[in-house]
Symmetry: C2
Subunit: 312 residues, 2 copies
């Protein structure tokens, strides 16, 4: 299994000609999720070859316009495209009021269910509709910005390790459905009544690929928690480190601080995004590389492939 992460907008505060407002796609084989939905995200998704019909959820970190303004248009376009199945949308309190008002004044017309969930308290596992849960698991945690903000971790489900076929057959499990059950990591009862457990026959669980998405925020525990052991931490890096004080005042991070979070969380790879139009992303990434060995400066449309974890 693979995940593809595609930055759809990597600018802070406003879209520019080179960087759209915040949005990012997390794409699995079965469908994809959007993290944040700044103005222009629907077109950026189109440019990236993503089909809106396969979009499962939009995970909004906070309601600042550069993370939210693309959502009404995205929903409207999906309705024009004839979508009927529900979409899941999460975000901080106020999300529902904003969407409901736009519907009431006639601005937003959707002919499919929008399951809008407002996040409160300490976060945790998101209860997703069953058909989405099969593909993705999502965990949230509060970040520390100027307004209520939640980060996300999007993961593929864990999978059982590889089955040692020869050992299983030697243990008496006949080829067929019972072997399939065992491969899924479940104990099986043989025709004679004997129970064969997967232990020793099925390798250690393969952890699903995980992507943490933590913007906007100052350095905070929530970002470390979401990024812990992640295959990819997507962290905001609004300013270069010389402007750390300004970043803090405005509720943001520098690339160096993002790398410190990534190192603390033992995230394997760090994707920096949400660059102020006044900074050069590559320069911010260079600073971060002093702290973390695998740092990429996000560029609109430049996808990153994450391959399946293998047992170590």
């Amino acid at each position: 299994m693979q995940l593809r992460v595609i930055p759809l907008g990597t600018s802070a505060g406003r879209p520019t000609l080179l960087r759209g407002a915040s949005a990012l796609a997390v794409q699995a084989e079965s469908g994809w999720m959007m993290c944040d939905c700044g103005e222009g995200a629907q077109l950026a998704a189109w440019r990236a070859g993503l089909s809106l019909s396969r979009l499962e959820a939009v995970l909004v970190t906070h309601l600042h316009g550069d993370h939210f303004n693309g959502l009404p248009g995205l929903l409207g376009t999906m309705s024009l495209e004839g979508r009927e199945r529900p979409i899941f949308v999460s975000g901080p309190p106020g999300l529902r009021e904003a969407l409901e008002t736009l519907v009431r004044v006639g601005s937003l017309g959707v002919r499919f269910p929008v399951i809008a969930v407002e996040l409160t308290g300490p976060g945790g596992a998101l209860e997703l509709p069953e058909e989405i849960h099969a593909s993705f698991e999502v965990v949230t945690a509060p970040l520390a910005h100027r307004v209520p903000t939640y980060g996300y971790r999007v993961s593929l489900p864990d999978r059982p390790g590889p089955l040692d076929f020869r050992a299983a057959i030697d243990a008496g499990v006949p080829p067929g459905p019972l072997l399939g059950e065992l491969k899924e990591g479940r104990s099986v009862t043989l025709p004679g009544g004997r129970v064969v457990k997967p232990d020793g026959l099925v390798g250690p669980t393969i952890r699903g690929i995980s992507v943490a998405y933590t913007l906007d925020t100052v350095p905070c525990a929530g970002a470390v928690e979401l990024g812990r052991g992640a295959d990819l931490l997507v962290h905001e890096a609004t300013y270069e480190h010389a402007r750390a004080e300004l970043a803090r005042e405005r509720g943001h991070c520098t690339g160096v601080e993002a790398a410190q979070i990534a190192a603390q969380a033992s995230a394997k790879k760090l994707l920096l995004t949400h660059f102020s139009p006044s900074v050069e992303g590559e320069r911010v990434a260079d600073e971060a590389r002093e702290i973390h060995p695998d740092v990429v400066a996000a560029a609109d449309g430049a996808g990153i492939e994450l391959s399946s974890n293998r047992p170590e």
Copy 2:
């Protein structure tokens, strides 16, 4: 005096890679106005070389997302750019509730006054703040769409005709301020007490250039009224004429119908816009050319210059 009209988005319903959602700039020497503000309008304005600091007003026809979704981001960006002076925004009822809700939930942060005027009843001359009125005059009239919708006519003020200097001096007006007064079309009192009127010395009033903007609508009296004698009528032409019935059902026009409106209104030039992603604009314009002699299919970013009217 000149006006430049720049289509910023010419698609119906949703932005596409070739055509943005509805928006159009009317640019004078002193500043500019935006008609409708679909998603992406702020970037289209930037691409067209328009400065947001010189934007005087946003005239919204109706609140459907493809005409409105760019407004919150536009206002947010102007605030980031440090705007302090007011902006004028007009639109149908619901405009204020939408903007106020976005402010309340923390989505829209503006640090300058937004003068939001909701249009009701039969329309008429818009009362603009004094500093805008000096450059533009705006008249509104209701259109006939699926939701409350208003069209606009944006004009430069009329100007007095040219002064016949020789005749004025022969009439005893001395060079200097009095001659200037006369040139502005006002009577002057000479040092000896005699009054000289402009009649016969100042040519007929030069009508200010006018642009009517009428979308979305079925063929209606309001569009004819706004387009009457306009230098340019910008009219929606969502479908080719073979789909006139569908157009009517959905509250839209064909290019042929738009041309009939333009002919009826004696509008000098017709700019067709708001093309369904399923039609080819040039083909719709070709059909309209059977009815009106001067038809242009709008293309994003392709500006049209309108030169000062001369007395006939």
